[in-house]
Assembly symmetry: C2
Homo-oligomer: 361 residues x 2
DNA sequence: CTGAAAGCGCTAACAG
DNA sequence: CTGTTAGCGCTTTCAG
């Protein structure tokens, strides 16, 4: 009963050609940037196309060119704001290069193979795995078919695939140094997922540095990168009879939850009664209500590097995998007690590095 | 210099057929759920496919079937956690139905037509526009080619396209009633984008209800749904010599920012010194540090409805556009002063509705 | 510069 | 149940 006709299918190049009185290949040329067509032809084709509402069918183009201009992006669907920033920026960055994002969300603690199986059927030109693991079987297979894969904020033990990460180990160490300099005594770590290289590396840097300073006993809870898990973890920690005075969370999302619970449920003021440090430097951490002290992972630069790697792999055939580490800093805000020395102010951003005297290995 | 060979291209059905000693169409059948193939054939094909690492090419399938199983989803890239929840859930829900999300992020204050132009080239099976406008020209065109379009959390004035929204007007009204019942005097509204039907409807409900109670003067600032804009808006409001004691923000994201700034920069305790109410009911609002009072838009149900509409449109040809409104509630937490009556407790969720006596039109 | 013709990898009738 | 035969809409030689 609708007023306009029974929805005709989208116009094809053929129909445009007929209307313009030219061959179908002429139409194709007009819509191909590098191709040659006389101004006369071009004009007639464009007019016909306009009239018919013609839009080149990218599916057909993909089929023939063997390039879909699609990038498969796999992201954990756990509400972590860092992934939202990453995804938004990846999408924008790839868009400027003529690529679109085919999105796949995962349960982070499910095997990602079935999802990847799906992705590959779509013949994406490349794969970006945000904080997602990759079985070596799959890595091998992707390499075989020449599919570029970049792991974002994660890596495989084998270094067989490219990866872009932050300074996980160094960051963990720096956080330890910072908390030590702040005079803390009782340390705790809220881990992400046990399988995650990211969480493990941050913990290793943290723990080893503390050990070097004679601190062996570090409380530990697994937050699993989920909101619920983080809540449980922080509650457990703060309920301890000998509760920690310094808590390092494997990422900002969990750190924000920690701050919220510490203040809201335990009446502890972060930065005064206890110190909480995160990792990522997400936007929300800058809000005055949080004032999160954290080790930064510049998303912008990570995205930039990811796109570069993908593009380069797409160009050169046999590009070797790259292990890219983008450097961060310890960002000083108010959720952790500040040391007396070592803070640098640049504009409205404060960073911290161990004072020279202490820096000795 | 890589050890494994120079990356052979993915196997085709043809190659599998050859290896299995059957026709290419036999291979096709084996990989088509409803098709018939003898156990013998099936087995040989499957073996050959396994050996070659064959995966049906969905691009080719899309071309021939005229269905890409791709849903174009356009989302503003402004860091709003509500969109992250929506996107994650849309992606998951569509996945269970065999559809994938082709993601497009937009600047919300840019015209979305160029983006949509892109989307259509990919021959997506449907379009979901999250809080994104749609020119009537485009709406018309989508209707012409029979492309289902669902606006999520927004609608057009014309009601020409389907939409799924929350109870914007009613919610705005309910918030006004709540604040009135709480004994507030000086009201303010932080708008989203002026073009957004969502923001306008919420404001209309809010303002008209207040007007009916004799309150004409309502402070107003435009936050534009961006973090920076919201900060500016709330600072302006709280700097007023006659600062509001009740602030209604067009969405939760801006409300959280408002809470953060009120407490962090102005030393005002939300719920005591001033009341802040949002709209959406995002997860973060439940954190004890925020305890955000808000009018809910159940993302889950909105996503459900969206998927249903898309699927139905995909099945029946000439389905009329639907304007779907999913109902919410005023969720009582601590960021706004509570009235004496009208609060209902269900489990750990508190809601508010005008007491019967007051409910009269 | 232009048209004709040959596919990209797959599905869908159609005969056997 | 199986193989053969047309294409889906487009890019791309290849002659003209």
């Amino acid at each position: 009963m609708s007023s306009s006709g029974p929805t005709r299918r989208p116009a094809t190049a053929h129909e445009v050609a007929k209307l313009a009185g030219v061959s179908q290949s002429a139409v194709s040329r007009v819509f191909t940037p590098g191709a040659s067509a006389s101004p006369a032809t071009r004009e007639r084709v464009l007019a016909a196309a306009e009239q018919l509402g013609y839009r080149p069918n990218l599916v057909a183009r993909s089929l023939i060119m063997g390039r879909s201009h699609l990038i498969g992006v796999v992201v954990p669907g756990n509400g972590n704001p860092f992934y939202q920033q990453a995804l938004e920026q990846l999408s924008a960055a790839f868009a400027t290069q003529g690529y679109r994002v085919l999105l796949f969300t995962t349960d982070q603690d499910m095997p990602s193979d079935p999802v990847l199986e799906e992705v590959l059927r779509y013949k994406v030109d490349a794969l970006v795995l945000v904080s997602t693991g990759l079985s070596s079987r799959f890595a091998e297979e992707c390499l075989q078919i020449g599919l570029p894969v970049v792991m974002f904020n994660r890596k495989t033990d084998s270094d067989a695939s490219s990866s872009v990460t932050g300074e996980n180990r160094k960051g963990g160490k720096r956080v330890a140094e910072y908390l030590l300099a702040g005079g803390h005594r009782r340390f705790a770590y809220v881990a992400g997922l046990e399988q995650s290289s990211t969480s493990r590396d941050r913990e290793a840097g943290f723990t080893q540095c503390l050990a070097k300073h004679g601190i062996q006993q570090i409380e530990r809870q697994v937050g699993g990168y989920s909101a619920a898990g983080a809540e449980r973890a922080i509650r457990a920690l703060l309920s301890l009879k000998r509760a920690p005075d310094a808590v390092f969370c494997a990422n900002d999302h969990m750190a924000l939850i920690a701050i919220s619970i510490a203040r809201g449920e335990f009446g502890l003021e972060p930065g005064t009664d206890l110190s909480i440090v995160g990792f990522d430097d997400i936007l929300m951490g800058t809000w005055p209500i949080f004032g999160l002290t954290t080790y930064s992972q510049p998303v912008g630069r990570m995205v930039e590097r990811t796109v570069e790697i993908v593009l380069r792999q797409l160009a050169d055939q046999p590009a070797a995998p790259v292990q890219d580490v983008v450097s961060g800093q310890l960002i000083v805000r108010d959720s952790a007690r500040k040391p007396n020395a070592g803070i640098t102010v640049e504009g409205d951003r404060r960073t911290w590095a161990p004072p020279a005297a202490v820096r000795a290995r």
